[in-house]
């Protein structure tokens, strides 16, 4: 069964360092999403891609976060510099249409 792949699964970094997360969506899924989930809360959308174009990045802290999906397939989310408050689970999801989303296992980031 096709799955969304994410790496790394866990990342520990010191504040002010740069971190990057990678996501490979299910083949054929044009829409890709990056979410941030703080412990005890629901996921919050950071950025949404349709193919290689950003369609929603209204909640992305653009002074330190960036996301790209250059060929409209896999995607990278970068944080530079990382801050203590960035500690969270970063989830990637993809969808074929604008309904059911398929989530990857997530990357748990700890900023020390």
């Amino acid at each position: 069964e096709a799955e969304v792949a994410q790496s790394p699964r866990y990342k520990i970094t010191e504040k002010s360092q740069a971190v990057a997360f990678w996501c490979d969506p299910i083949s054929g899924h044009a829409t890709l999403y990056w979410y941030r989930q703080i412990l005890g809360q629901g996921p919050e959308l950071l950025v949404q891609f349709q193919d290689e174009s950003v369609v929603d990045d209204s909640q992305l802290p653009k002074d330190r976060f960036s996301a790209e999906r250059l060929k409209g397939v896999d995607s990278t989310l970068k944080i530079q510099p990382a801050e203590l408050g960035d500690s969270a689970m970063y989830l990637c999801a993809s969808s074929l249409a604008h309904n059911e989303q398929f989530f990857g296992p997530g990357t748990r980031l700890t900023v020390l």
Binding site: Y33, L91, N99, R108
Partner: protein
């Protein structure tokens, strides 16, 4: 900014009992979805109910939607220990954004 509020925040039941979780939201929606998240993992889509539907079933799951009250409920019948997880409602807004907004979740514990 999270639109949905789940109630209760936590629920503990005995195996075999039914579990009911509620979700309230604020704006007009296109559809409402329920997702399950096992500890430290990604989310799994359970069921989708459209704004013109009032009730939907899938196996041991029953979802109701009351758009006049802006609320939904998820019923899990004959619960099993494997149902232990966090459950989130997510709403797709009725405007053109296609944004999926998650609630804060209900943590369900099913005791064997």
């Amino acid at each position: 900014s999270q639109q949905g509020e789940e109630d209760p925040q936590a629920l503990s039941i005995q195996e075999g009992e039914n579990a009911t979780m509620n979700c309230s939201y604020k704006t007009s929606i296109n559809n409402l979805q329920w997702y399950r998240q096992n500890s430290g993992r990604g989310l799994v889509h359970l069921i989708l109910i459209r704004s013109n539907e009032r009730e939907k079933h899938s196996g041991r799951l029953r979802v109701t939607l009351d758009t006049s009250k802006k609320s939904s409920s998820l019923l899990i019948t004959a619960s099993r220990a494997a149902d232990t997880a966090s459950y989130f409602c997510a709403t797709r807004r009725a405007d053109s954004s296609y944004k999926l907004i998650f609630g804060s979740g209900t943590r369900l514990l099913v005791r064997p």
